[in-house]
Amino acid sequence: MVSLQKIFLIARREFLEKVRKRSFIVMTLLGPVFFAVLMIVPIWITGLNPGGEKRIAVVDDNTQLIFHMPESEMVEFLYLHTGIEAAKKLVKAGDYDGLLYIPEQDIDNPARITFFAEGNMSMSLQHDLEGKLNAEFEKLKLERAGIDPKLLENIKTKISVSTVNLTSEGGEEQKNNSASAGAGLGSAVLIYLFIFMYGIQVMRGVIEEKTNRIVEVIITSVKPVELMVGKISGIACVALTQFSLWILLSFAITSAVSTKFQVDRFADENLKETLSKTKSDQLEQALEMNKIVSAIDSLNIPFLIGVFAFYFLGGYLLYAALFAAIGSAVDNETDTQQFMLPVTVPLVLAFIFAQTIIRSPDGSLAFWLSIIPFTSPIIMMVRLPFGVHWYELALSMFVLVGTIALFSWLAARIYRIGILMYGKKPSFKEIGKWMSY
């Protein structure tokens, strides 16, 4: 009989030791900050006026063509008629932030347009100037062809197709494919990282106990399987703690951020009002924000987090058992490589396939990889935001649980022999034999 009390004691020690480490605290605090930065930066940029208004001198040598560079919050254009050399001196003297020089142009072959500045030109300023010049040239060409630019403006059309899933319950569900892809890929990356991070912690712990020889003392008190299960569940608790703290902190940070930047104004119901207040050149960005906000709203976040927790835990338990078996079979970490390879290949493959599966989440490759337990934790999470039939999900979960049971049993059989073997690195064949002892 396995003693639950002893497993609890072991798990408790493992948990306390890990969560007291400075690295755990740092990771727990930095994780959400990292996620928040990913969220905040795009929002922040939309409301940002980089470096204040720039005064830019324009020297235009053209006599045939007339350029009217439209001004914005970012730049003010001042036309000089002093000649290029005199203008350069003014820039150097600090009268202007930059000098745009437009030599005589052939409308069909625009060339040699130069920007002079004391420092480097920022990417956004360059982008801005190029866009404005393009528009000017286009306008001139249209005029030459006898087309009214206003007419063309009316012809321009922008269509965005919204996806609606016809659910089996007969309802309709609005989907946003890019949001699904983002959520799917994001959780796949997280699961991949978590399995590796914590699986390897289990392996290191086993090797440490073995090289410390503390294991000889411990297994006179507990069964090897109790030690293994205790260790794996202790670290699982560490992972779950970290994960929950991440979610809590992320929510706290993002809600603080949304309040600060009034992200709500980009939600569908408030969009009209927001747009009316938005300046014309930020319209595009406001619409983009609306897309992001409504995409996040279209996901069933609690459901995703629930399933994520299951696959995260399941994937971890499956791989942690294998990592524990590897750790028990070797004397030091350098010897693990040979055994790590077959264990990590399915994980890495799943991660690579995830990018393909994003594009066809209902294909047969996607189906099978989300059933096979070695890849399912990652692949199912990729598919899930796009919608998965409940019976596929149930099958995948069932297979995963069964495989965890089988492989934990096999791993325990390797483990109980491995932890007492010192010296020579065993071969796969020998490890196979241990299972039959």
């Binding site: 106990e209 410390n212 020889r213 000889e216 003392v217 006179t220 008190s221 507990v222 007492l420 034999k433």
Partner: protein, 298 residues
């Protein structure tokens, strides 16, 4: 009643036989030496006694009962390769190991307090093991072995790595624990430590027992008719009364190894005393080392 009865225990790994139908009885309150060269099967046998591995065949009785899980808490084991969690605090570690043996938090704390006071370890409790000196770590390791008051204490090569001071301390504690009723098994290939402490021994070589019994008894069995003698004058043996096996003159004294013939030891002393001053006359008692080597040669 014996503390441990090992009956026809065999163990093999693949085709390699590590224990071949071994039977040993370890009397209660004995200090039992499990001797043998490296690789003889001592550690394998200990692992079976401690329940780490199961024998392929044969049985182990713990105080007359079939060995079972409930006995685990009555065994304290100090493995040859010492080990503790290096980063864990001494106090937490001792409590943890005691609780794994089945002690309640309260008992564990109480027992720890006793040993901490005895070994003056108060200042170490909050320190991680790795910050202690080697000698201190050895004490912690020893306390970890006996903190749960085991009735059977198994010490695998206990004196290796201990400095002389700690080795003496350990010796005293071992005798003390035995006086309190514990049985102690020593596993070692160093005979001199056995000589002083062990009341009984078993010698293992190549998976089999080659010698077993009470130390006194084994020695007297091997007792020969040989004596050591130191005199002021040179003497001559005649082959009938006694024979000189070896003769040596050191710093003006004559050292002899003799084999008695027709004369008894007291007759010989009487005969020699008239001609010379006898500085020393002693029966040549075989050392454990002699017994060990002799047993291995057979």
């Amino acid at each position: 009643m014996n503390s441990i009865d090992i009956q026809h225990v065999s163990k093999q790994y693949g085709s390699h036989v590590v224990l071949d139908a071994i039977s040993i009885s370890i009397p209660q309150q004995s200090i039992f030496g499990l001797l043998g060269p490296n690789g003889a099967g001592k550690t394998s046998l200990i692992r079976i006694i401690t329940g780490i591995t199961a024998p392929d065949s044969g049985t182990v009785l713990f105080r007359g009962e079939q060995f079972a899980e409930k006995h685990i808490g009555q065994i304290g084991y100090l493995p040859e390769e010492r080990g503790l969690y290096k980063k864990m605090k001494v106090g937490e570690q001792l409590i943890y190991l005691a609780r794994l043996k089945g002690l309640s938090k309260l008992e564990a704390n109480k027992n720890m307090a006793y040993w901490v006071a005895k070994f003056a370890m108060e200042d170490w409790l909050q320190k991680p093991v790795e910050s202690l000196s080697k000698g201190m770590q050895q004490k912690v390791q020893f306390v970890a072995t006996i903190i749960h008051k085991p009735s059977l204490i198994i010490l695998d090569e206990p004196f290796t790595g201990f400095d002389p001071l700690n080795a003496n301390l350990l010796k005293d504690e071992i005798l003390d624990l035995r006086a309190q009723g514990a049985t102690i098994i020593f596993s070692t290939h160093r005979m001199e430590s056995v000589e002083e402490l062990c009341s009984d021994i078993a010698m293992i070589n190549k998976a089999r027992i080659v010698l077993e019994g009470a130390t006194k008894h084994l020695r007297s069995m091997e007792q020969t008719n040989n004596y050591q003698l130191i005199t002021s004058e040179k003497i001559e043996g005649n082959g009938i009364e006694f024979t000189v096996l070896q003769e040596q003159c050191k710093e003006g004294l004559w050292h002899y190894d003799l084999a008695l013939g027709r004369l008894s030891s007291s007759e010989l002393i009487a005969k020699l005393a008239s001609n010379t001053t006898i500085y020393q006359f002693a029966a040549k008692v075989p050392t454990m080392n002699d017994l060990f080597i002799k047993a291995l040669q057979h």
